[in-house]
Symmetry: C2
Subunit: 192 residues, 2 copies
């Protein structure tokens, strides 16, 4: 499995939907396969807030600025041959479409378990607070999430396990010509 | 001339010192020589303010945040094999040293014509305003510039022409092992 050129896999979805876990599993797989010469970067929404967007809040304007900054950096990396895995709620459709326009080589993955499943998992304990009204502007509870109309991949991670989810993405990357073929070394399959 | 690995050339100096002109000439040279497989990016301070730091001002804290963001992006690119040319006033020594620490492969170039020469050129018409008191916090006039103690290269661009300045930098890059050798195609010499 070799990459022909850089690209961005843009994982969008609610808090607790499994974006980061999926990004890490996909990165492991691409890295082990030496895709893109091993040039893989994860841009995580929380990390980017720390490094590029300190002081921004959660208004639509601030969320959009944060997403635009992620897109700017992802584009710089992708056009230099890096496989970039973005993991960010990125709730607004128009903002994601602007990122797609800037980046070009853009593969949108909607990580979409039912909201109830995200609430059940509550991996960061945030839904409990949001439902108690302690977090204003919480996506899915008190702030909008606009699902994609035509994401390249949509994954209900309450029904698909991690390996199957990763395989759905690599199959799409192959179909789109970002991977030379869909063959995955068995050693990698074992590690996913 | 081939690059063995990614690196950052960090051009620091006053407004009007010639940082951007130098970055562009160096980029042309590295690009024509297919250094780093042609993977060259310029991160210009003004551009970064637009894309990553909208809303930040010119207090020490805001300048430092802006420089830290440039360093974050430069590091991401350099560790993926890109030659990154940063052009930013970056007036504070400690902040540049922090960037050096983060990035590792860091070549500091102090673009250092005398202040009087920058005022004489006044390429953006800013010194006139700053000297008239119309721009508060203007580096070199009403805000500090802390010169490097030990930049890898220091260039008095009032005494050296553009080609000689570029050659001083490529010679240092060769010496540090970032370029395989110092040979520059004559076609490139002509274009500088």
């Amino acid at each position: 499995m070799k990459l022909s050129r850089g690209f961005v896999v843009w994982l969008t979805g609610l808090s607790g939907s499994g974006k980061s876990t999926l990004a890490e599993a996909l990165a492991r797989e691409l890295r082990a396969a030496r895709a893109c010469g091993g040039k893989i970067e994860i841009l995580d929404g929380d990390l980017i807030r720390t490094h590029l967007s300190r002081g921004l809040g959660f208004s639509r304007e601030d969320r959009d600025l944060n997403v635009a900054r992620i897109a700017f950096v992802a584009h710089l990396l992708a056009r230099n041959g890096v496989a970039v895995l973005v993991s960010a709620i990125s709730p607004y459709k128009a903002t994601r479409e602007a990122a797609r326009g800037t980046i070009g080589d853009f593969v949108e993955v909607h990580v979409a378990p039912p909201l109830e499943e995200c609430i059940r998992r509550d991996t960061k304990g945030l839904y409990k607070k949001a439902l108690a009204g302690e977090i204003p502007l919480f996506t899915g509870i008190s702030d909008p999430y606009e699902p994609p109309d035509a994401a390249e991949v949509t994954l209900d991670t309450s029904a698909l396990d991690l390996r199957a989810s990763v395989e759905r993405i690599t199959a799409k990357l192959t179909e789109l010509g970002y991977l030379d073929d869909g063959e995955i070394p068995s050693s990698v399959q074992d590690s996913v």
